[in-house]
């Protein structure tokens, strides 16, 4: 391990460098790596076969299906929202634009439990829309729509948060050129804007998906914990853990942990590819 020659240190002695690096590694190991290891160790404690069997239990399968279903609805929804928000905020000027931009990020600063509470207060039996929904025979809270809404609330800013700054940084000339060439708004968007956004879009969808899969607090509040029907994977983990069925709980946790690792790796890969693409573009302009 050397100091990055381009970086160069501030003259700290080699032993200090080693100490700092060692400390950093230790911290990363203890705070991040160990919890991960625990998950996999506990999951595989009864052996791989038993762990796999636990995941094939009806409740486990139901939880996985439900999590996937909720994510499969929430993520595309938030992606469309993110594209719409990015377009109107980055390509237009209007009064209140700054406030709207801040509003898009609001869910990030709200506790997930409060988000769930808010949805219950609006869509629950005794909520503002409660009687209305009852009249239509619709169940939101304690049912799939509630789970989807809770997940949408919590993960709403993830795609938008990547797209808005990205689109703001891209000059509008390519889109203007498309318009002068006769493209309609939709054609311009599909053929010119979307391809320019692809890295940010991928990153955003990736982060949104990861968060949606693991959402716990908001979903816990709106779900009613109906086993087999409104129990997503994180809720199932909680239930199994509280029943002292640790192997099964960690088995399910291991699946989510693996997905989290894939997410982290994919994000790093996308960052690298995007960095390369940007560097290539810059280099060719300077050529």
């Amino acid at each position: 391990m050397r100091a990055d020659p381009a970086a160069r240190g501030i003259g700290e002695p080699a032993w200090a460098r080693a100490l700092l690096a060692g400390l950093a590694l230790l911290l990363l190991g203890v705070t991040l790596a160990l919890p991960l290891l625990v998950v996999f160790t506990e999951a595989l404690a009864p052996g791989l076969a038993a762990a796999a069997a636990a995941l094939r239990e009806p409740d486990a399968l139901a939880a996985m299906r439900l999590t996937l279903l909720v994510t499969a609805i929430a993520v595309p929804f938030n992606t469309v929202f993110g594209l719409a928000a990015a377009w109107c905020l980055a390509r237009h000027r209007f009064p209140g634009r700054g406030a709207l931009r801040a509003l898009v990020g609001l869910p990030l600063s709200v506790s997930p439990v409060v988000a769930g509470l808010a949805l219950v207060l609006l869509f629950g039996r005794t909520g503002w829309l409660g009687p209305l929904l009852d009249g239509w025979g619709l169940r939101v809270v304690f049912a799939l729509p509630g789970l989807v809404l809770a997940t949408v609330f919590v993960t709403l800013p993830y795609v938008a948060g990547q797209l808005i700054p990205l689109l703001e940084s891209l000059a509008p000339q390519e889109e203007e050129a498309a318009l002068t060439l006769g493209a309609s708004g939709w054609q311009m968007f599909w053929l010119v804007t979307l391809p320019r956004l692809r890295w940010g879009l991928l990153q955003g969808v990736l982060l949104c998906t990861a968060r949606a899969l693991g959402e716990f607090g908001a979903v816990a509040v709106v779900s009613g914990h109906v086993r087999g029907q409104t129990t997503t994977m994180p809720l199932q983990i909680e239930a199994l853990y509280n029943e002292y069925n640790l192997p099964a709980a960690f088995g399910m946790a291991a699946v989510l942990a693996l997905l989290a690792l894939v997410t982290v790796a994919a994000k790093a890969l996308l960052d690298w590819r995007q960095g390369r693409a940007l560097a290539q573009g810059a280099a060719s302009v300077l050529a």
Partner: protein
Amino acid sequence: MPGLGLTLGVTLAVLGVVVVVPLVAVLARAAGAGWGGLAALSSPRAVAAFRVSFGAAALAALANVPIGLLLAWVLTRYRLPGRRVLDALVDLPFALPTAVAGIALTTLYADSGWIGALLAPLGVQVAYTPAGIWVALLFVGLPFVVRTVQPVLAGLDRAQEEAAMVLDGSALQVFRWVILPPLLPAVLTGAALAFARGIGEYGSVIFIAGNRPGLSEVVPLLIVIRLEGFDTPGAALLGAAMLVLSAALLLLIHGLDRWGRAR
């Protein structure tokens, strides 16, 4: 540019129905409790919950400052083997479901756990105590300081450091006087973000906390308990208080960000 009507409409509609109106419902329900509501907010149990949540979050954010600085420094300035992997790992608390983190940390720090077993002979108990909350929030808040400091650190003007070194400054002095000052806004922003995240944290906390009312019960848990006990107004009051505090924090973070940008 075309498309303003449609995109603005969609944006406003979604934000309105999914975010704004539900949050307004919380505030309205809380306000509806009138002055009696304040009594519910100042019950010993509620006050204790705020103390626990805010205390643990503050201590965790504080601890994340040196940790985050160290990690940012090592990841930015040193060419470690596998640096990319380590750097990616920092994002883990963002990507890992809170419930997974919760049960993992609990098992790790319980008396029979890998770390808990090491601490038990020293008389230190982490799981099922307020210390457990601190550990969980440390995990959850780890990336914030690192990620806000890294870009600033990477973009520092080396000329100043080199000048300081030439003027015979020790590494420590250079760090203290040349490097740290420009990093300060980013550090504070990161800590504030970690703090904001910590006060509302639920999933990673409830397993390791012990959840004893008055001692290790956090505000989000109390909200859930009140909701499940059909004390909707009580839950709404706590929720509204959290919203107001989050809003204040948000303004603070915004201000810190602007300050950092201006420097």
